[in-house]
């Protein structure tokens, strides 16, 4: 019934099946919206956050989706600026995922603040010393860039593209996309970095605090680096997932292989830097404040040293090694495992940098504080996932996301 909207030459499932999927995801979305409205109307007392856990699940989700959405800027950079032309076959999807991630991040921020009606004060009364100000500016600007990158894709819908104006607009936008890609990469560098700086400038929190260069703590670079390394993994992961669900091959293996290889290199170098950073922090920075590394991983029911090993070894070194070996990349199970581990790794890193920071005591007479999110927090965190699924479903159905799809499935 909607065949007129479906791109030429590709097959899509029946509209009924599609609608059912939308309804299921929509149900989850509505649940999230209900929780969101509860929070906006009744306030943040709907969460299980408290004065010790002022930053919690949402901020983790925020940092998480921004890291995962990092594929958009990095693939954009590779494709448009560095000129890895093969990547044009996956860039659309990366942009879409990035768009979903960043819009979600902004939505979560709007739910997270105590006075959403005043959240624009961050721009109006900006404190240029605050990492969060930098985050807010770069994030909003980059979101605008992502929107601009996503628009031509929408305009390529079969029906819309029939309108000459939209057709020309899309064409022209593609032409200048290199400028936006460069801008996006530049902005991403700063907001990924400033997100990394967010916990690391907290010099009152020895678990988070990192030294650095000039005004930038080391995590500033580590966050950007990790987003560039792990973001494409998420793109690969979602692509693979989409292929599984639709039962179609969507991107050619050489494209996947190239991206995986670049990711592997990024990840490998990142993890070395991360190990150096951790080492320096554990032996110099933290000890100067009177903390041994193990102090941060003991006397509590959850945060053991396992989390450090999981992040660095299991979800860092292991996937990096897989992605760096041609064998690992060519074996589809290994590749899938690697990108999955990588996604978990970066999410673990962001979790540690937000939640463990809040949990660890600083004053000697305080204890670890554990936190379990309320259902409202969980629902509003799942909301973007449902929203993402819906947007992917619609975009995949009606927009020519994968240029190689027709060829691969003919």
């Amino acid at each position: 019934m909607d065949s007129a909207l479906i791109p030429d030459g590709v097959k899509r499932c029946s509209f009924g099946k599609f609608a059912l999927g939308i309804i299921i995801a929509g149900g989850v979305l509505l649940w999230g919206v209900y929780a969101m409205l509860l929070i906006w109307l009744k306030g943040l007392n709907q969460t299980n956050m408290n004065d010790y856990y002022g930053f919690a699940l949402w901020i983790w989700a925020d940092l998480g989706v921004i890291a995962l959405g990092g594929g958009a800027f990095f693939i954009g950079l590779l494709r448009y600026v560095i000129g890895k032309d093969e990547l044009k076959n996956i860039i659309n999807y990366a942009v879409l995922i990035g768009f979903i991630c960043y819009s979600s991040a902004l939505l979560i921020l709007a739910i997270d603040v105590g006075q959403p009606l005043r959240s624009w004060f961050i721009f109006w009364h900006a404190n240029i010393h605050s990492m969060l100000t930098e985050v807010a500016f770069c994030l909003s600007c980059y979101f605008a860039v992502l929107t601009i990158e996503y628009i031509p894709l929408i305009l390529e819908n079969r029906q819309i593209n029939k309108v000459p104006f939209f057709h020309n607009l899309a064409h022209n936008m593609h032409e200048v996309m290199v400028i936006f890609a460069a801008t996006g990469a530049f902005l991403s560098f700063f907001h990924q970095g400033s997100l990394g700086g967010t916990p690391a400038v907290l010099y009152g929190r020895p678990f988070a605090f990192r030294e650095g260069v000039f005004i930038w703590p080391w995590t500033f670079f580590l966050f950007t680096w990790s987003a560039a390394a792990y973001g494409p993994c998420f793109t690969l992961f979602v692509t693979r997932l989409t292929e599984k669900i639709t039962g179609k091959k969507l991107v050619k293996q050489n494209v996947i292989d190239l991206l995986a290889k670049i990711s592997g290199w990024m990840m490998g170098t990142y993890i070395i830097a991360k190990i150096i950073d951790t080492w320096y922090w554990a032996t110099v920075t933290a000890t100067a404040s009177g903390f041994n590394l193990i102090d941060f991983y003991s006397n509590n029911p959850f945060y053991g040293i396992w989390i450090l090993i999981a992040e660095i070894v299991v979800c860092g070194i292991v996937p990096a090694l897989i992605l760096l070996t041609p064998k690992g990349r060519s074996n589809s199970t290994l590749l899938f495992t690697a990108v999955l581990l990588a996604c978990i790794g970066v999410l673990l890193n962001r979790w540690v940098m937000v939640l463990q920071v809040m949990a660890a005591p600083v004053m000697t007479f305080e204890n670890w504080v554990m936190y379990i999110p309320s259902w409202q927090e969980v629902a509003t965190t799942i909301l973007p996932v449902a929203y993402g699924v819906i947007l992917v479903m619609i975009s995949f159905r009606y927009l020519p996301i994968f240029p190689q799809e027709r060829e691969l499935n003919s």
Partner: protein, 728 residues
């Protein structure tokens, strides 16, 4: 007009873009944030003219001076009064949160008559005229039946005009049953009577002492006049004076002392006598005292019966500690021994008080700088002589229901016996007045007290607040709170220089309340005859002015005046009064219950952050209570980790606490500062009345313990009770 898809889209997009460049959305964004800054449900306190008034705090017997900051006719802050001899600017957290009692939700706003069952909380608002005629009718009936002695009253203390109006009222009416809330003042008074032959109170020259030996007194936990003791404690610290605290639990006082000596609870008297033994045997006692009455018998007693080894065994304190403590105490230039556990709300064992007082006498610090003074209040209450009619004469001949003055000749009031007497059918009351007290909460075995009250046909409360007793009354005649009324506030509370202060109406009464003094007089006048004649004043205020005489002007001007004398020691100090003979074969006041069914010993502890008398904690005060004392709806019980391990109890676990008198669900708090085998619960929690900020939080210690009658004084000497703690 045919609107196509394209024109519709253009319209929508164009419209949106057009609106965005108008000021409208930006103005709306700005307005919404301005709205969020001025939410109508966030109050904006009105400004006005600022002023200050001095008055006196009456929330505890401490008698601190307060300064009230006012904005127009609202009081916005209570502060300690600078230059006041007791507190000089400082104030405790109860005093500081007094405005929550004045303006808070727990006030009784008009006279109330019960309509539902007792304690059901169903009330009918009635007028003051109706209320007074209700009481009058009842009293007239009882009196005409010759049952006048079946009317009793419970008030907070013996001194001051309001308690004396009650006393006068009962006397004129014909009832001896004027009862007061118990405290260590009862025991100290008796001790001074027996050992020094004076009718006086103990006044401690704490500020000038240089070695303070405290037998469990909560020096900084609310004992005596709390702020004054805090100040004394700071002065000791600043000047290097020594404090030794003896008690089984590391209380705040113990933690701040120079030495904490844990002792098996209930054996304090034995330690005092053991110390006396060391002092006498080593000839460290003051020679002048050695020739006092009864000294030889006392010496024989301590040397024969209280050898160091025996004392060490009974108290659990090692011999060397006992000897060095005794020597350090005796060698100090101004040693001072004090007793009365915690805040001193339980009178305690008379033997213990006498033994401790004997220690003071041994080192010669009675009526000396830095020592214990026998102080008396100047009795400014000189009312015309009461003409009693025959009913009154008859009634006053009857024995008191609590046995004070008869069964226990030394006692003035034994409220601790009331529940037992009534519940066992040995006596009964027809009417009870309760003013400035909350016996259904704060008397040991408060459940038994409630049962006793249930059998009293007519219970009248004068409480300003909906407390437990008011909640179970038939009629509430609400008094003004202390910030709305004039009243004299005589303060002893262990001061070496007694003071009288004046509370004054800082604000006009907030509700339809009446001064209790006026109400008593109105009832008397309504009863007519001799009753009316006994109260010749037209109002309480007139009565107060006349009573205070020249003092009135001073009090209005200054807020306080010194009001008392130090007694001259008449005759010898008696080391061995008759009452002490029982010590020759010492049997400590034991904790109720069998050791088999109840393997642990439960003791109460007092904290200054919890009020446990007439006043319940206001919201600010309860907010300041630690989460190791109260967590959610549960009191936390302190257990030594060793004991916890034996019982399989870990931090934060729920446990069921059982004593011979009651049970409660509690939360476990492992605390290294408590003797193994002993557990402690805070006093002041477990209210069922007042507001939602206080009611239903924790358990009331008084529901878990019963009174233990001191064999000599008749006063309550219970210091703990046997208990069992099991996992839930």
């Amino acid at each position: 007009m045919n609107i196509g898809r394209r024109s519709f889209l253009s319209f929508v997009i164009g419209g949106a873009a057009g609106t965005a460049i108008t000021p409208l959305p930006w103005k709306l964004i700005d307005d919404s944030s301005i709205w969020s800054q001025n939410w109508p449900w966030t109050p904006v306190p009105p400004d006005g003219e600022y002023s200050q008034v001095n008055s006196v705090c009456t929330l505890c017997p401490g008698g601190c001076g307060i300064t009230l900051r006012k904005v127009d006719d609202r009081v916005v802050k209570i502060e300690g009064m600078k230059g006041h001899p007791i507190n000089d600017g400082g104030l405790c957290l109860m005093g500081l949160s007094g405005l929550q009692l004045l303006y808070g939700p727990t006030r009784v706003k008009t006279p109330l008559k019960r309509v539902g069952k007792r304690g059901e909380g169903k009330w009918e608002k009635i007028s003051w005229d109706e209320a007074i005629s209700e009481v009058t009718k009842k009293l007239a009936d009882i009196r005409s039946n010759g049952e006048s002695h079946a009317v009793g009253s419970i008030v907070d203390s013996e001194s001051g005009t309001v308690p004396n109006l009650f006393k006068r009222f009962l006397t004129a009416y014909g009832s001896p049953n004027f009862m007061t809330m118990p405290s260590i003042q009862d025991t100290y008074g008796m001790t001074l009577q027996l050992m020094q032959g004076v009718s006086a109170q103990a006044g401690f020259d704490a500020e000038n002492a240089d070695f303070i030996l405290s037998f469990g007194s909560g020096i900084i936990d609310g004992w005596g006049s709390p702020v004054r003791m805090f100040k004394a404690n700071s002065a000791w610290k600043a000047n290097g004076k020594k404090v030794v605290q003896i008690e089984p639990r590391l209380s705040n006082t113990a933690a701040k002392s120079d030495k904490w000596i844990p002792i098996k609870p209930g054996t304090e008297a034995v330690l005092a006598l053991g110390l006396a033994n060391v002092i006498i045997t080593n000839s460290l006692d003051s020679k002048k005292i050695s020739r006092s009455t009864g000294f030889e018998s006392f010496k024989k007693l301590v040397q024969n019966e209280y050898s160091i080894d025996k004392v060490s065994k009974i108290t659990g304190i090692n011999s060397a500690t006992i000897v060095s403590l005794a020597k350090n105490f005796a060698r100090a230039s101004k040693p001072l021994a004090i007793c009365g556990k915690g805040q001193g709300s339980i009178p305690g064992s008379l033997n213990e008080f006498m033994a401790v007082h004997a220690l003071n006498a041994l080192v010669g610090n009675i009526n000396k700088e830095g020592g214990v003074w026998a102080v008396t209040e100047t009795d400014y209450i000189k009312w015309p002589k009461l003409e009693m009619d025959s009913v009154a004469e008859n009634g006053m001949q009857k024995e008191r229901i609590d046995g004070a003055g008869s069964e226990y000749p030394h006692a003035n009031s034994l409220l601790n016996r009331l529940a037992e007497v009534i519940n066992s059918g040995d006596g009964s009351l027809e009417v009870i007045f309760v003013s400035g007290a909350n016996p259904l909460y704060s008397m040991p075995d408060s459940k038994a007290m409630k049962t006793a009250f249930d059998s009293i046909p007519f219970v009248v409360s004068f409480s300003s607040y909906m407390d437990e007793t008011a909640d179970n009354a038939d009629l509430i005649l609400p008094n003004h709170v202390y910030l709305e009324r004039y009243e004299d506030v005589p303060t002893l509370a262990g001061l070496s220089k007694p003071i009288v202060g004046l509370t004054r109406p800082v604000v006009k009464p907030q509700f339809d309340t009446k001064h209790v003094g006026d109400v008593v007089m109105l009832i008397a006048k309504a009863l007519g005859g001799g009753m009316a004649d006994a109260f010749p004043w037209e109002s309480y205020e007139a009565c107060l002015k006349e009573t205070l005489g020249v003092k009135w002007d001073v009090l209005v001007e200054k807020g306080f005046e010194f009001n008392g004398d130090k007694c001259i020691l008449e005759g010898d100090f008696n080391f061995y009064p008759e009452a002490m003979k029982s010590l020759s074969n010492f049997t400590p006041v034991s904790a109720e219950g069998s050791a088999i069914s109840y393997p642990l010993i439960l003791i109460p502890y007092d904290t200054i952050r919890l009020a446990n008398g007439y006043i319940g904690d206001p919201p600010f005060a309860i907010k300041a209570v630690e989460d190791t004392v109260l967590k959610g709806k549960n009191s936390c019980v302190e257990i030594n980790p060793k004991t916890g391990k034996e019982l399989g109890l870990t931090e934060g676990r729920y446990a069921s606490l059982l004593t011979p008198r009651g049970k409660a669900k509690v939360k476990v708090h492992l605390y290294e500062g408590i003797m193994p085998g002993i557990i402690a619960l805070p006093r002041g929690l477990g209210h069922t009345a007042y507001d939602k900020y206080l009611a239903g939080k924790g358990c009331n210690f008084n529901e878990l313990i019963g009174p233990a009658e001191d064999p000599v004084s008749g006063l309550d000497a219970a210091w703990g009770i046997r208990a069992r703690l099991t996992k839930v």
